[in-house]
């Protein structure tokens, strides 16, 4: 892999990190090549040899053709190949992200971003200063040794240089050490009553003991002390998130961000992200401190706190007061958003929007609008309703009668039991959606490929079925999308996407096919129940024929196209509806014929 040279240098730790990942990426790419040759040879010897001969030159890519056909010959090997290819792509993307970062540094060093570059290349700057200090020391020793003979030597300037070098080196070293900081794990409050003494907590977090007395006095004097305490708790969550959150405007999106909710809560952000975010985190901390000091001195502390909380949250997710002048955010909705840990996803989407255009800059205004719509309705408190009822989503849900529409929107649940574990399903259509794609398959993650998340959080036609495992209490163990699509005759149909398991869950409990089938059986059972209640057919991938059979259900093979009505999130993303993974989809379109199984109620 060729490497982009950064003329200003990057911290050594990043260089090493890049080198390690590049080696792994190269090794994995070789493995993929071997596995692909093996798969091709299997296909050539199978009944699908002619299909393969035709499909390998298909415009949607030989890789997709290879895995799709192999799935029919040997599903297990197809899964392995798919995993290998995904890992290989993921590693290569990390390297590309790093190189893109270097390119940005190089570009920024020519322009007004030079200050940021100086920060980011702190280690190199520090080394240069240390080296200069060594030279200054040698000159000083020489002048001293020369005695009166060096009488006219400019020692005043030597002192000035030494003083500045020492001061700079200290500051720079402190800055550089930011990349090595260990961030505290998330507060993880499940309710606004989760802190015993939010005033004391905030005062301690901000290193400002005097603030505790002021806030406690304000709370005691408030008309509703409990509500005041809850607003303080929400502020504590905001502080906790903001002082550890990646600065996506600097770090950008990429596969170096964590890939599970557990890791975000543990704040295992990589050194690059921690380093690039430290300045903003300190600014946020100072801003929260100012906010609380203003509250203590305000005539109406409750009003000042709620207004300050709302304003701060909007700033943290990257919106200015001017941009949100027409919004009607409410303190209650902002508190819900904080409890839902939405600061990071909303910030990531907003601050990486310019990277979502895939080269078509004309899309940017629509992407901006789409992201702003989601943020606005979240802070206004009507997000779940807006997602179903906006005009584009309403068109997507056309053809449903009132009862079917109510059933589609409703949250359902099923249980499955294999004698060892009882799994329970639920549906997500609200504030939990931005985190859904941090369960398994990470490419749709808010800070990996935000454009792939946009359709899920904007379209009423898609919901997420989540599986809760009692042995995995922190977040859902698996997820799958269920969609409401149409046949070419306009009749609605349900469409079930493959499932994804939480990476840490898979690491903990293994990846045995029977365990995966058990999980997917819960999702299929859930989707079938929904199809029964809505009286609609359900489309399922053919690779899950065994799961359907295991549930005692019948499904027929079908081979027909489906209609995908226009997306409210600029893009649509799916591995089964198209070979493109994600694509702009602002008009109704018809898929290629899809070989699926269809369950009919």
């Amino acid at each position: 892999m060729s490497k982009i040279q950064n003329p200003r240098g990057v911290p050594q730790a990043f260089e090493q990190y890049r080198g390690q990942v590049a080696s792994k990426a190269e090794a994995k790419a070789e493995q993929v090549q071997g596995a692909k040759l093996n798969a091709e040879s299997r296909l050539e010897q199978s009944a699908l040899s002619q299909s393969w001969a035709k499909a390998k030159d298909a415009p949607w890519g030989a890789d997709t053709a290879l895995t799709t056909l192999l799935e029919q010959v040997n599903p297990w090997r197809a899964g392995q190949l798919n995993n290998l290819m995904q890992t290989s792509t993921r590693l290569a993307t990390v390297v590309h992200s790093f190189d893109a970062f270097c390119e940005r540094l190089a570009a920024a060093s020519q322009g007004p971003d030079s200050e940021k570059v100086t920060q980011t290349t702190a280690r190199g700057q520090h080394n240069r200063r240390t080296e200069l200090l060594g030279l200054v020391d040698r000159v000083r020793t020489a002048v001293k040794a020369a005695g009166a003979a060096a009488g006219s030597f400019p020692t005043g300037q030597l002192d000035a240089i030494e003083g500045q070098l020492k001061a700079d080196a200290t500051v720079i070293l402190n800055t550089a050490e930011r990349g090595g900081r260990v961030l505290k794990p998330s507060l993880r409050l499940k309710s606004l009553d989760g802190l015993k003494d939010p005033a004391a907590h905030l005062a301690q977090e901000l290193g400002s003991p005097e603030l505790a007395d002021g806030l406690q006095a304000a709370m005691a004097g408030a008309e509703d002390p409990k509500a005041f305490g809850q607003s303080l708790t929400a502020t504590a969550i905001l502080l906790d998130e903001a002082q550890a959150a990646p600065d996506y405007s600097q770090a950008g999106k990429g596969w170096f961000h964590p890939s599970s909710r557990r890791d975000y809560r543990a704040r295992t952000h990589d050194a690059f992200s921690r380093f690039a975010s430290a300045g903003r985190q300190e600014d946020s901390r100072a801003a929260v401190k100012d906010l609380l000091q203003n509250v203590v001195g305000a005539k109406d502390p409750s009003a000042a706190l709620d207004a300050g909380l709302v304003g701060r949250f909007l700033k943290e997710i990257g919106y200015s007061a001017k941009q949100t002048a027409d919004w009607k955010p409410t303190p209650g909705a902002v508190k819900e958003a904080l409890l839902g840990e939405l600061l990071l996803p909303l910030r990531a989407l907003n601050e990486t929007k310019h990277t979502m255009t895939k080269g078509d800059d004309a899309l940017l205004p629509q992407i901006e609008t789409s992201i702003a719509n989601v943020a606005q309705h979240i802070v206004e408190g009507d997000y779940a309703d807006w997602r179903y009822d906006n005009p584009v989503s309403a068109h997507q849900l056309g053809g449903l009668d009132d009862k079917q529409l109510a059933t589609w929107k409703s949250d359902q649940s099923v249980k499955v039991d294999n004698g060892q574990t009882q799994l329970q399903t639920r549906e997500e259509d609200g504030l939990g959606l931005p985190w859904v794609t941090k369960i398994g398959g990470p490419s749709h993650g808010f800070d990996y490929g935000g454009e792939c998340l946009l359709p899920l959080i904007s379209n009423g036609r898609t919901k997420a079925i989540l599986i809760d495992d009692p042995k995995w209490p922190d977040n859902a163990a698996a997820r799958s999308y269920i969609r409401l699509l149409h046949r070419e005759d306009g009749s609605p149909t349900l469409y079930l996407e493959p499932f994804q398991r939480d990476f840490p869950h898979r690491e903990t409990f293994g990846d045995a096919p029977e365990l995966n089938d058990f999980f997917y059986s819960a999702i299929v059972k859930h989707a079938v129940q929904k199809a029964d209640e809505m009286g609609l057919p359900l489309s399922i991938g053919r690779q899950y024929a065994g799961v359907i059979e295991g549930l005692g259900l019948e499904a027929e093979p079908v081979d027909h196209a489906l209609v995908l009505r226009a997306s409210n999130g600029v893009y649509e993303a799916s591995d089964t509806l198209s070979g493109k993974h994600d694509w702009p989809q602002m008009a109704d379109e018809v898929t290629d014929p899809l070989q699926r199984l269809e369950y009919r109620p």
Partner: protein, 125 residues
Amino acid sequence: MSKQQLELAGSLKAKTKTNPKAVARLLDGRVTLPDALGVSDAQIEGLRRQAIAMYEAGKPQACVDIVLGVTALGSVHPLDALLLSRCYRSLGRTTDADVSEAHYAELMALAVETQGFAGPAGGAA
């Protein structure tokens, strides 16, 4: 007082004067250390002559200190390595002396090859 002594003693003003802009330029990597200090070639050569004087006066450590300071200012002469070699040997630092001698040989070869060697102004080792 001789002309040389007058030159070296200089004025108090030149000695204590500071130039913050030059410091900033040095930190930005836009100028070298001698440029930021505002030290002249004559002053550097004066220090080198003082190094030779120290060697001749039997003060090898002072000679070493001055030579290292002069080279830190970016001024390198083949004689520096020879001076260092002899000083280190008299200080009992034989390894350093050998390394300096090797440097001297390399520098001399280079100097003869490229421009012809001329001894430093005002003295000889």
